[in-house]
């Protein structure tokens, strides 16, 4: 049983990491976005395996769906597929890669050194599964306040996005012209 799990995990993890690397090195921004969709979809499968079906669903619908479509839309709107294709400034690359190797080593060290995670294998009936019902219960009891606070955040984002991209209305343009001619 364990072997099968390792194979599934290994294959998915490989796909995820390869797609993430491709996202970073792809010359075309559209390709990058599509590789990111692959990463997000395979993460959704992991979420399912970790007993989080609701989050997995949101991951596909919101992240892979809405957010990435927005990215693709903006890339195509701006015609920015090839912008900034040149990879890096000479000194930044070694720095970035060095830093990252350090981080990965540190991560590995952490995992080997300390195992504070004692994962107990529970019978299925006792596992807290993140169903829509369970998440909803939590959101409307303990997490009610952050849930409401997040609505302010969404309002801000909405107003902000409209303000930043709004074209001048015809009336305002006319006022502007009138002012200039005076």
């Amino acid at each position: 049983m364990l072997n099968l799990e390792i194979i599934i995990f290994g294959a998915l993890a490989l796909i995820t990491v390869v797609a993430a690397v491709m996202m970073i090195i792809a010359r075309n921004a559209v390709h990058s976005a599509l590789f990111l969709v692959v990463v997000m979809s395979s993460l959704a499968v992991f979420f399912l395996g970790l007993w989080a079906p609701f989050i997995a669903m949101v991951q596909v619908a919101l992240y892979a769906g809405a957010i990435m479509v927005l990215f693709l839309f903006v890339i195509m709107l701006l015609g920015a597929e090839r912008a900034g294709a040149r990879l890096l400034l000479a000194w930044q690359a070694p720095l970035a890669i060095g830093l990252t190797v350090l981080v990965v080593l540190l991560g590995a060290l952490l995992l080997l050194n300390t195992a504070p995670f004692e994962v107990v294998d529970l019978p299925a009936a006792e596992i807290t599964e993140g169903t829509a019902e369970a998440i909803g219960q939590a959101l409307y009891s303990v997490w009610l306040f952050p849930f409401e606070a997040v609505s302010i955040l969404l309002l801000v984002a909405m107003i902000g996005a409209v303000v930043m991209t709004r074209q001048e209305t015809r009336q305002e343009a006319r006022d502007e012209r009138k002012k200039k001619s005076l």
Binding site: L106, L110, N113, T114, P116, F117, S141, V142, W143, L144, F145, P146, A149, V150, I152, L153, L155, V156, A157, I159, G160, V162, V163, M164, Q171, E172, D175
Partner: protein
């Protein structure tokens, strides 16, 4: 949740509710009213609302029960510490709205004031947060509104550039913070409340299992370091300060920094309290590098707003000294410093805006002759620069004094005064900083310029803001005790 608990909770977050309603009101009126007749409605509304909020906070602070109020299942915690920060935020909002009244491109814009108000609400949530989820939500609400405000003037290429740089840097660092929170969440066995995390960390520290926790701590410090503009997370500061509309620069430099320090103190003193011995050296180093680099680079600046940006980085360094000197003295010093810094820096940026409007240039050398064109404005600049430099009898002097005193008085668990070097470095830095603050004054008071006999007319909003801030600086410079007593009480409430 019973009805009584709900009422108590709503009362606890009343200032945020008032501001939220104000923000929605402003946005709605902006939609309804026709273009030409908007005038200063929104500015006036914002100022009025901020005033009401300030009064509510003062009333709440006076009647603050000695025990902290935990509301909404422990998501928020209201104590005197939070009230003092709220007071700073609402005063900063009030002053920022005052100096926005006559700034081109924003003065009649409802969305501008709306976003300003919403970001203040986010800051209130940040300061009051008692749970890592709440911390993240509050931080993002603040930041997202500020990204927009920094890039608000779309016609100006520097403003949009400032907005985008702020955004990319902010999104990057807040994600690093989130990763740190996720590690902390994992290492503490799935705790999200500050008190529960602290209790678990206490056990882990006793078992000497601190290495993984330090990784989480550093990642979290990156996020906070961005908010307070500490080196090496300061790269955005000069560009954003220079490019943003000046009232927003002023607001970011005081309110956002104060909010950053609110969470910095709460998190490092309470949540990471058990790891104190491990992080003091780290934060002390951060403080030393931040103030030294900020001051050295500020000296070379020719643009006034950019110089103020580096000066504000240096000020973050002094404030970090107070955080390093863990305990009541240090925290009280930071609170006092921040409260006076709100007044001082807003005055400095208001003068920057006035000078830019008058001469069309942001360079320091073009401020020559300001003292003869507008003696009042030049006096405000004098007060602000001297207060930033820490010259008595202005409020900034006592801020620095208390911070250095706290560092000298700090004793580590083995009984040594281990932070004296930091205090000495701070004093040396203050002397270096005096040079560039005085250079600005030399240009405005001594240097001559063409057309300096033309008097400069300034609008009422600026005058009122400058009068208030200068009065505050002088008042708290002469009568520092009441504010310091309040700071001490607030510092006692952190624990």
């Amino acid at each position: 949740m019973t009805g009584e608990q709900l009422l108590q909770g709503l009362w606890a977050i009343l200032p945020e509710i008032v501001l939220l309603l104000l923000g929605i009101l402003v946005i709605t009126i902006d939609l309804i009213k026709p273009g030409q007749r908007k005038g200063r409605t929104f500015g006036a509304l914002t100022i009025g609302g901020a005033l009401v909020t300030t009064l509510i906070i003062i009333y709440q602070a006076i009647n603050q029960p000695p025990e902290p109020v935990l509301a909404f299942a422990g998501m928020v915690r209201i104590d005197l510490f939070v009230q003092m920060f709220r007071l700073m935020f609402s005063v900063a909002l009030l002053l920022a709205a005052l100096i926005s009244l006559d700034v081109k491109g924003v003065k009649t814009n409802g969305e501008f004031y709306g976003l300003l108000i919403f970001s203040t609400v986010g800051m209130g949530f940040m300061a009051a947060s008692n749970n890592i989820v709440m911390l993240y939500v509050g931080l993002e609400t603040t930041s997202i509104a500020l990204y927009m405000l920094a890039g608000f003037i779309r016609e100006s290429t520097v403003s949009t550039e400032a907005g985008m740089k702020y955004f990319l840097f902010g999104a990057f660092t807040s994600t690093i913070l989130l990763y740190g929170l996720s590690l902390l969440f994992g290492f503490t066995g799935g705790k999200t409340g500050y008190a529960e995390i602290a209790a678990t960390l206490q056990q882990l520290a006793a078992q000497q299992e601190t290495l993984p926790l330090m990784v989480a701590l550093v990642l979290i410090a990156v996020g906070f370091g961005f908010k307070v503009a500490a080196v090496p997370f300061h790269m955005w500061t000069p560009d954003v300060y220079e490019g943003s509309p000046t009232p927003i620069t002023a607001f970011i430099s005081v309110a956002s920094k104060a909010a950053g320090f609110a969470v910095f103190i709460r998190f490092f003193l309470i949540v990471f309290g058990p790891l104190q011995e491990q992080w003091i050296g780290f934060v002390a180093l951060l403080a030393a590098v931040t103030m030294t680099l900020g001051n050295l680079v500020a000296m070379q600046q020719r643009n006034f707003k950019r110089m103020l940006a580096y000066s504000s980085i240096a000020q973050a360094g002094y404030l970090l000294i107070g955080v390093t000197a863990v305990g009541e003295l240090g925290t009280a010093a930071v609170l006092f410093y921040l409260a006076t810094y709100v007044l001082t820096n807003i005055a400095a940026f208001a003068v920057a805006e006035i000078a830019t409007n008058a001469t069309g240039s942001e360079l320091i050398k073009d401020m020559a002759g300001l003292s003869r064109r507008a003696p009042g404005i030049a006096f405000a600049l004098l007060a602000a620069m001297l207060s930033l430099a820490g010259v008595p009898p202005l409020a900034g002097f006592f801020g620095k004094f208390y911070v250095f005193q706290a560092a000298i008085g700090y004793t580590n668990p083995t009984g040594q005064n281990s932070l004296v070097w930091l205090a000495i470095l701070g004093v040396l830095n203050s002397i270096v900083a005096l040079y560039y603050y005085l250079m600005v004054l030399k240009v405005t008071y001594v240097d001559r310029a063409e057309g300096e006999d033309v008097p400069l007319t300034t609008s009422g909003g600026f005058k009122l803001a400058l009068a208030t801030t200068v009065a505050g600086m002088i008042f708290f410079g002469i009568f520092a005790t009441p504010l310091y007593t309040l700071s001490t009480l607030a510092a006692q409430a952190v624990r």
